[in-house]
């Protein structure tokens, strides 16, 4: 599977860009699932959006995967160890199997509620079935800058 034209992956939530290596979960920090970067969201309820256009392949709802028509998969994981919350703190705004456009709201994410459970609300954004050589982080991401949801986040080159 290789997409011919570069695909721009958008920041799914607002917040401060964080290097993937700094995510406090080795599964993500060591890029076991795939390469990417993370966002530390503001403490409030944030709308997590589709980072690319495609099919909403899977919604957990603490994480979701969007698959582009070219076969590029992007995983957005809302918080660390949030799978154990069984959906608490997450409000689905789209349905699994939906065709979505980049920017569409997928999940409302209650960052305060997740942090109150003692979990880290950081949001890893993972490019599936690619390696670090296939992706380029946006300059603002490398700089660890504050991002708005929908800002350019990662370009997948191949």
């Amino acid at each position: 599977m290789s997409s011919v034209t570069p695909v721009v992956v958008l920041a799914p939530v607002p917040g401060r860009a964080v290097a993937i290596e700094e995510v406090p979960d080795p599964t993500f920090a060591q890029s076991i699932v795939g390469p990417g970067a993370a966002i530390d969201p503001p403490r409030g309820v944030v709308d997590a959006i589709a980072p690319i256009s495609g099919k909403l392949l899977k919604v957990f709802p603490h994480a979701y995967v969007i698959l582009s028509p070219d076969g590029l998969g992007v995983l957005v994981h809302l918080g660390i160890d949030t799978v154990q919350l069984h959906g608490e703190g997450f409000t689905l705004r789209a349905t699994q199997g939906d065709t979505v456009s980049a920017g569409d709201v997928i999940v409302s994410y209650d960052v305060v509620a997740i942090e109150a459970t003692g979990r880290n609300p950081i949001v890893p954004v993972i490019i599936l079935e690619r390696t670090a050589e296939n992706i380029t982080l946006a300059d603002a991401v490398t700089a660890g800058a504050q991002l708005a949801a929908g800002d350019e986040f990662i370009t997948v080159n191949s």
Partner: protein, 92 residues
């Protein structure tokens, strides 16, 4: 064609961490392995080395999956993969 069933032991299901461990193990094999839910028809089985396939399969804790492979060493390979699936990698 070799075939084995496995019960997903991971408490969180075949999600990010366990799915990645499993996909990496399949990727190291020289044979193609498919995975499907026992309740689904065999033709719906997907590439077991693809993290994308595994996450869309979304097997939960306690779900029974079927692994299938063909070729030299398929039986032994599937035995090893069953062990991975039946281990809870999130156990402390």
């Amino acid at each position: 064609m070799s075939e084995r069933t496995a019960t997903i032991a991971s408490r969180v299901g075949l999600h990010a961490r366990p799915a990645s461990i499993f996909a990496a193990a399949v990727g190291e094999l020289s044979i193609d392995v498919t995975i499907g839910l026992e309740s689904d028809p065999a033709e719906d089985a997907m590439d077991a080395s693809s993290i994308l396939s595994l996450m869309s399969l979304g097997a939960a804790n306690g779900d029974v999956v079927v692994l299938r492979a063909e070729g030299e060493g398929a039986d032994e390979a599937l035995e090893a993969l069953v062990l991975i699936l039946e281990t809870d990698h999130d156990a402390a």
